[in-house]
Symmetry: C2
Subunit: 260 residues, 2 copies
């Protein structure tokens, strides 16, 4: 056994089925009992936040719900079988497949949208747990997201309250004393991913706790997960390659045509 | 305290400075002592694998070394201050900034390239530790990588030996019994990120252990981290938006010109 486990991660057992109006602070406090301590970080699956906030919408067609949540289509591709994958930017600025519209584990004929403001949700849960249990915890709201260039998904942070989402090493130096100018670890995403390893997708374990990085827990008004989203003007992949090519082709053709 | 911590993560202390030819199996076995058990997963920072494999190259200019490691430029952008960021595909198929060329913590005038074959390195370390210590461990070689659409970096898997890099839930069902058709958690990336949380960038803690997911550890000939790289034909972001637009523009202009 390790002499000092630097980090421990465990799921909260006994979280009941969440429905519209469930008090998540109450439910988490009940499940955690007296297990929580100052500096613990809770990662809450966005699905239960959405359910508690009654983000169900009636939708015969999931595609219509995705369209409704889409601010901008980043890329889309239709497979030989006719299935279209859409990568879109949603109102939170997040780029993901399907705009976070979730049709699994929802009542027939309904889909679940992402929380209206996941940072506000995370802050509210953190504030409630701090007040109720008297422990200074941080809260991350997580979602399962795909990535460019890499297959599969990882759980990432879409909301954060009372926690530093980045570990800012930019002002530090490496072991040789040279400045670490470009390293900005997104610890919130790493924490979300770590808890996915204990949650299990098919089990009902929507909340997990990470202990061992109390240094990341702080004031409730720290920047949220919205600050992880890269601004459009800095984004080299703001449009899919096929889509950007098509836009360029049209512009190029128009520019080369003899003017009337 | 949690009754049963589902996952524990700790760094190995006492790893000495790694130089060309260092036997990593020996060094890790010494540092781990009798702490390792069947099912443990070791995440080894690619930097020490590169050092042990003598991947130092003399380079007055880091940019030249990046060019040498680049198979294909995916996107590039020059800032107002004149600094050019290049996102490139390297010979491993990985898309990243700077092709994994590392100039921090290296002797003056040298840079460090990625291991020649990180999957082979991971398998070799796993095989060595299994033989030497008599415990069935899995090994991940990690690198710090940026992401499209999101600021900051996370540690991700670029090599894997004796471990399932994906948790394949595609054949499973959700709690309502509906098939989980699209979920393919990239557990190798989540494991790499979890260990970054205990390694610290400026400290010399290049190896960490994860205990609690023994189910992911398996045969040494399991697919490596190369299988995480999305094939080009499935990649909607194989080129930066500006680059794809420029290609399209040129093609559009050529198509619209009156033929000679």
């Amino acid at each position: 056994m390790p002499r000092i486990p630097a980090l421990t991660v465990w799921p909260l057992e006994g979280i009941p089925e969440i429905t519209a109006g469930t008090d998540l602070v109450e439910v988490i406090a009940q499940a955690a009992g007296s297990d929580l301590a100052d500096g613990d970080i809770l990662v809450v699956t966005s699905k239960i936040v959405s359910k508690a906030e009654d983000r169900f919408v009636v939708a015969d067609d999931r595609e219509d719900a995705i369209t409704g949540e889409t601010v901008r289509v980043v890329a889309s591709r239709t497979s030989p079988t006719g299935h279209t994958t859409r990568i879109v930017e949603n109102r939170l600025g997040m780029v993901s497949a399907a705009a976070g519209v979730d049709a699994s584990n929802t009542p027939e004929g309904t889909v679940l949208l992402l929380p209206v403001d996941p940072d506000a949700s995370a802050r509210s849960i953190a504030a409630g747990l701090r007040e109720r249990l008297g422990v200074e915890v941080g809260v991350i709201v997580s979602d399962t997201l795909g990535r460019a260039w890499r297959e599969g998904q990882t759980d990432q942070a879409i909301g954060a309250g009372g926690i530093h989402v980045f570990e800012d090493l930019r002002g530090g130096t490496d072991a040789e004393g040279r400045p670490l100018i470009v390293t900005l670890p997104c610890v919130a995403d790493e924490l979300a991913g770590a808890t996915d390893l204990v949650k299990g997708k098919s089990a009902r374990l929507p909340v997990a706790v990470v202990r061992g990085r109390a240094d990341l827990v702080g004031a409730l008004d720290l920047p949220g997960a919205r600050s992880i989203v890269r601004p459009l003007e800095r984004d080299m992949f703001r449009l899919g390659a096929d889509e950007a090519y098509a836009d360029g082709f049209a512009a190029g053709a128009a520019s080369a045509r003899p003017s009337a």
